[in-house]
Symmetry: C2
Subunit: 916 residues, 2 copies
């Protein structure tokens, strides 16, 4: 006996089930499952993925027994439907669709209305009582078949779909605007023209034989598995070519046979808010594609869903109340069965409801949290499952202020969209345009709301960015300076809005003819990357009001209560620790409120820009000798000490990892003539001398230059000052009764010896301070692993390190030889054209950088099994990267304060995936 | 019975031998060996390295039996010398010296004249008949003992040796200039002062007991093994601390007891020229340190060695003819025994010759080649041994023009030394100073010899560098642009001569008050890094005249014949292939003449600067669209084709690896206002547009920017043009009957997909060209492995690569996060302070980058076992790196033409080391 290649479904039963996704594909498995549940599914059959594999392996052959099993299946469909395939009187029509194990959008070829020919179309006309309908179905079939099966694509890039061209010509002839205005005769003529075109292009007549049509469509779907587009897609998403696609052959049902017909889509719960009520759209007397095409306006499914401002709306609940109730029933059954919110497609053919598809529905972050918590309360799912249902990124989106959807819609319809860039910092903001950080600080101090707009930002702009409500840049990517600072500060931010032409001198920016001057209002939505002219009112996140600001109580916010619950569950399941990257007491406090268990990275250089500290920093840089440097460092000492003390207090005993000075010194100096002149005057040094120093410090590749521990080695007094500030602060705060746990982190180590020498300085200073203060505090000394050599020689480095923290930003730059600041010139092209799957600065390059992470961790722990290992690059807040961090066995991830909830959820998801 | 800790030598026999170096140290083993050979060695004993290990392990204890064995040894020495240790009448004096398995210069502590005290000094005076001699020996002993054993170092950095201070004071008192003018009484008084100082500083009187002195000295030597200086030295040279040092206690002999005494050093062959005659210096009535101290002028050993211009010289051969013959005999015996040129120390005490040391002698490259070939002819050594005797770098030094040693001495004595930098390109050159590449080209075209002096060079200067006789830069390291180009072009070059203050506007350079103007003559020695004012005549290398230029016949040059012989031997033994990095037919021809078996790297961008090509290149860069770029590329096509054709002809069937465009496009544009204005006028484009383009292309980190294959991916037409030029040239040259073997190399690949796409373009173009030309040529497509990610994912990349070539320059930059252009600010400090052993841009960082090399090779060959793998960075010409390349199993190394002979010898040495 031949193997089983074909699985039937329909008539209240099915040979397959939802579990058989590998064999039947996602679509086929769900159709079978619905049939099993007794739901009204048009009968059909699924040809398995194994047939695809055979077909692919043998260069287009079918296994023994397939033909017979398909024939038997068709006979069964004929029996169930009381129609016959190819019957000129009452023809059975089928659809043929692909359906792989995982959804592969854009690869899915579909042929509808298969079985029509010059004879059967007459039967369809008769049975339906609608000749126009029949010929409309016929011309659609011929065009689809021509495209999908016969490969009649446009011949050149500029040519349009050849069938579409004929249709347009016909509408011109008839002087009508809409397809629906063409008559049955027009359509019959079009079918003739289509067939003539097929003959001309392929050299063969269009196949009239339904059997030939059927096998042609099946072969086309199987062949499509190995077309270049599909191969490319599989490569990108790591889908094995052995998987293959299934083919679903299903009886056609029609929603366009009259006023007692309809077609629609529905979610079992509201996908925007998560409210537990059906939500969707439908059209009377229409086909599926009409709902999305936008020619007619779809109507709401339920009465509750109606817009009070639109009394003309007619809900399905009103028009076909019985069918509505039937749909509700189906929705409930499916949710109970799949234990998740479902996204359905249905068709009503002459008062009979048919389900064409069900799948788990996509939803907003807000809805995901609501649905997950509701379903736990409904005992549909357990808490572990609930956690896996929430996209971790949603946890950050819920912290951002937002514009109301209505306001956004209005702004767009009024043409207020100015430019679109990358959504670098989520949230909404509105304010007056300023082009300089100083202006931002000044106006903000006067109580103005301002948006800082720059070509790109630099560390000198940080004060202005802090003062602004939001930030817009014309250049830069998701990990540009502006983006990094914005996310860390929780500022709405749009970067790389390339359409903006910014003219600092004129104090204006332009997009085409439109000019926005400094002082005019703009609004930006950092969640979508859009910038609008005019003032729009954002309203704050309830979660922030409750968790961070304490301006609202949990009992007054449903969403905040749910948010807290989700985080509590996440904490129960995760293994990875979650820390934060924070440079101030305020950021530290916010991160703690959001659940941070420590600081993974404090960048001391960010403190160098505050107030008039920069003057002391510059004095140090310009000093001619060690004595001069020490004098300037002595000015910085009390300020750094105060910074650290504030952070220690805010963290209240949680570990605080402080990185010693990292950036090259020239970053602290002005580079333009004007700035140099100003600074020279300020410091009372000759302009030429200052210019010479700036020139001398300039670097061809600052990223690979004199920075990180290389500074602390050449100028050990800098490390010593910072260590002193850390330990004095630690002792002082400990004396207040607040526990402290400092961890000193040395950046950019490539050789064991570098760390050994810096460690020695830190230990010496610690000893001195403890003796002076008569008090000891426990501390660790460790290093960033951010150069390939550090990971490669981690066994040696671990000899002198108490902990490692992977600086994945720089590790990515060096491993890939890719400057974050410059990659904007080609990285977008790389991603668009599929050379790369993702931006390696957002999602860890697991195949490359990931190897070094694994190697560094393993080698480090070979030497020191208790070595604490974390990650503190941007990737520390990226869910895919967090999953990898979990897999490699890191101790913690560290991310910006607002991503702490994301990391908690992602860490839990990684742990749960691990349990499976 | 206790273990044997002490090995005696002397009296025509020895307990140890040269084989026992591990146990007795190098010095002890050779002393034993000489004694065995019956050579006149002052008797002595060696305390083994095992005692050192015991001493070190137990914190300063000695093993059982040592004391007895030392006592027995001293008794034997007394017996042999007929003197007694501590005997006031006829005292035995000894020296105590360290001596490890390998030479550790600077760590070697020595105490001479041990055994002297207030009694024995009188005995010595009596026996020697020279009271002044006796007290001079005594004061030297007290000072040495105070320093080495009692640790009486200067107390502060500025303080001088405290004993030296007293000596100076005494000389002032006596109003004499020279130590030798002090009387016995003066010296006796000094001994008292020294002892008083010892008491004051150490709180203890100076030990008068010779036994106490002896054990004090032995302990001091053992202790010195674990002093910080020695630990640091061992760490740097990877010497295990378990090895320990031996201690040699040897009877003193004196060369300063009268006119029948002498002391000297001698080489068994001339260490400068290799001539097979004894060569050395000696002084009558002197101590060893007097020969080196330079107070008296040493005399030549042989009559042949005398300077005809100095009739006052008196050779040992004349003064003590019998002892000279005895010395000749000893030298011959040692050479026959050690089968290598020896470096001896001897003392003649009252007409009796003593050997104090022998070791293999250091020699110049020239001498090494002469000695090695002579010794093969003398059947002293075989050819394999001969190869190991030549420092591979010497093969390059012999290609350089040189100044005569006399001329150099004269120039230095006349104060003509202007500045010293790094020896970046070996050889001598003289010419008129020019500060601009254009001037260099113009004046050279007029027949002038010029030296190009720049702060640093850039690709735009290459034409001027080519035209100049030599190059000097004020900035930059051994792998700066100037250094790389100079070595590839075989130009003498000094870089990083920091003392030079170059003023382009004034057309002059200054060092302090000395000013050198454009047009004045300077001379430079690129082998030593020195720059002189004035004109000095270099004379050309005979090897180049014979091998490269053919201006001299082999039969007219002894050294060229020997050079060729050595290379022939090397080729017999090596496994690694040797290719060259060459960009022109001339360089290719030179490399072939020097033995290159192919080209490992042709940098196509170097061709972009020639003639008016740069104009077409700039047109391409400034084009607004693909069509504009293609037009400009079409102009470049015939020029590139001609370049490649010339190289194919020169290489005559050897493989030619051509790298597609690598540097970022902004390197081809001017960056200063003036240059931009000039170019804008030239191209007829608005200055603002050009400035904007320059600004737009600017990069924060060009090293990690839009370069390498990233250019060819975004602008596939560039790769296509280059591929077309390569294949058209290949077909044309093949049509001439010259075999061709092109290998297309894609740079800066990090992802398999990058190479796959570039490969596709190359293959498509190849197919087109072959069809057009009606002719096919075999070719390969491969990639540089120069990013860590490429090495980490080499298994994937090898799927689409026919070969790998490690670009170790860039791989070092990215793996270490170290910009070659910027490292000058801290790398010298790193090397000086021992953080790094060597400049990683000169010698491969085996612990870090080496791991990636090994990984890349292994992973690549996992996928494709026949993958050809080479190395084409600067390291391809570095002997230590070549040894590693051999170890990893690479197929070839590629280096600049003049280093091809170096690589051939180094590859042979690696293979021979492997056989052991």
């Amino acid at each position: 006996m031949a193997e089983k290649w074909v699985y039937l479904f329909g008539g209240g039963t099915a040979e397959g089930s939802a579990e058989m996704r590998d064999l039947l594909g996602g679509k086929g498995a769900n159709l079978a499952e619905m049939a099993r549940l007794g739901l009204p599914v048009p009968p059909g059959m699924t040809i398995t993925t194994e047939v695809c594999a055979y077909f692919s392996r043998t260069g287009g052959k079918y296994p023994d027994g397939l033909e017979e099993q398909v024939a038997a299946g068709m006979a069964r469909l004929e029996e169930l439907m009381g129609k016959k395939f190819g019957d000129p009187e009452n023809p059975l029509l089928v659809s043929v669709r692909s359906g792989a194990r995982v959804s592969m959008p854009g690869m899915m070829d579909t042929v509808l209305n298969l079985g029509l020919n010059d004879q059967t179309v007459e039967g369809l006309a008769k049975v339906s009582g609608d000749r126009r309908f029949a010929f409309d179905a016929y011309r659609r079939f011929v065009a689809m078949y021509g495209d999908v099966v016969l490969g009649m694509k446009p011949l050149t890039k500029t040519e349009r779909d050849p069938f579409e061209v004929l249709l347009e010509k016909k509408k011109e002839e008839r002087q009508v605007a809409d397809d629906t205005e063409l008559s049955a005769e027009d359509l019959a003529d079009l079918v003739k023209q289509f067939k003539a075109l097929v003959l001309e292009r392929t050299g063969k007549p269009f196949p009239e034989d339904p059997q030939e049509q059927l096998w042609g469509a099946i072969a086309a779907v199987f062949r499509s598995w190995d077309n270049p587009r599909a191969i490319e897609y599989r490569r990108m998403y790591h889908i094995p070519s052995e998987w293959g696609t299934a083919v679903n052959v299903q009886c056609m049902v029609f929603g366009n046979l009259g006023e007692d017909c309809a077609t629609g889509v529905a979610f079992t719960r509201n996908p925007a808010t998560g409210e537990p009520h059906i939500f969707g759209e439908y059209l009377v007397n229409a086909q599926g594609e009409d709902v999305v095409a936008g020619i007619r306006t779809p109507q709401p499914i339920s009465v509750a869903q109606k817009d009070p401002a639109k009394p003309e709306q007619k809900a399905l609940e009103e028009v076909m109340p019985e069918l509505y109730r039937e749909l509700l029933d189906v929705a409930h059954k499916l949710e109970q069965h799949y234990r998740d919110m479902q996204d359905l497609e249905f068709t009503i053919e002459r008062k009979k409801l048919f389900l064409l598809q069900t799948r788990n529905g996509k939803r907003t972050g807000l809805a995901a949290i609501r649905i997950a918590t509701d379903m736990v309360d409904e005992k549909l799912i357990d808490e572990k499952t609930a956690i896996t249902r929430i996209e971790a990124d949603a946890m950050e989106h819920l912290l951002a202020p937002i514009f109301s959807p209505d306001e956004l819609r209005r702004a767009e319809s009024e043409g207020k969209l100015l430019a679109t860039g990358l959504p670098a910092g989520p949230g909404a903001a509105t304010g007056k345009v300023v082009f300089h950080a100083d202006d931002a600080k000044r106006l903000a101090a006067e109580g103005e709301d301002v948006i800082l707009v720059r070509v790109e930002t630099s560390p000198e702009d940080v004060g202005g960015m802090e003062a602004a409500r939001g930030i817009v840049t014309a250049r830069g990517g998701m990990t540009s300076h502006a983006a990094l600072v914005a996310r860390q500060r929780g500022k709405p931010c749009v970067v790389g809005a390339g359409a903006l032409v910014i003219d600092y001198e004129a104090g204006e920016m332009r997009v085409g003819d439109r000019v926005v001057k400094a002082g005019e209002w703009i609004s930006l939505d950092g969640t979508t990357g859009k910038v609008y002219v005019g003032r729009m009112e954002p309203y704050p996140s309830e979660v922030v009001e409750v968790l961070v600001r304490g301006t609202k109580k949990p009992e007054d916010s449903d969403i905040a209560r749910r948010y807290i619950r989700v985080l509590e569950w996440a904490d129960r399941f995760r293994r990875l620790g979650v820390r934060t990257n924070a440079d101030t007491p305020e950021q530290s406090a916010e991160a703690v409120a959001l659940g941070a268990e420590g600081i993974g990275l404090t960048r001391t250089e960010h403190m160098f820009f505050g107030g008039n500290r920069i003057t002391s920093v510059r004095k140090m840089i310009l000093a001619d000798d060690e004595a001069g440097r020490k004098e300037a460092l002595a000015e910085l000492l009390p300020m750094q000490r105060e910074d650290f003390a504030g952070i220690f207090r805010a963290m209240n005993g949680r570990p605080v990892t402080i990185r010693t000075l990292d950036p090259p010194l020239h970053e602290f100096l002005p580079h333009d003539e004007e700035g140099i002149a100003k600074l020279a005057a300020e410091l009372g040094v000759p302009e030429e001398k200052l210019a010479a120093k700036v020139e001398q410090l300039a670097e061809a590749n600052p990223m690979l230059g004199h920075r990180g521990c290389r500074l602390g080695l050449v100028y050990p007094e800098i490390t010593a000052m910072q260590a002193r500030a850390i330990f004095e602060a630690a002792c002082d705060v400990a004396a207040e009764g607040v526990p402290v746990k400092p961890e000193v982190m040395i950046p950019l180590v490539a050789h064991r010896e570098e760390l050994a020498r810096q460690r020695k300085i830190v230990e010496e200073v610690a000893g001195q301070v403890f003796a002076e203060k008569g008090r000891k505090v426990d501390y660790l000394v460790g290093t960033m692993i951010e150069l390939p050599r550090a990971a490669l020689t981690a066994d040696r480095i671990a000899e002198v390190a108490d902990f490692f923290s992977f600086g994945t930003n720089d590790l990515t730059q060096t491993t890939l030889g890719l400057s974050r600041d410059d990659a904007g010139k080609f990285l977008p092209f790389y991603i668009e054209s599929g050379i790369l799957d993702a931006d390696p600065f957002q999602t860890l390059d697991i195949d490359g950088v990931g190897q070094l992470l694994r190697m560094g961790t393993e080698k480090g722990r070979q030497t020191r099994p208790d070595l604490k290992v974390g990650i503190c690059g941007e990737h520390g807040g990226d869910p895919r990267s967090i999953a990898f961090a979990h897999e490699v066995g890191l101790d913690y991830v560290s991310c910006s304060p607002r991503r702490v909830p994301v990391a908690r959820v992602a860490a839990a998801q990684a742990a749960l995936a691990d349990q499976k």
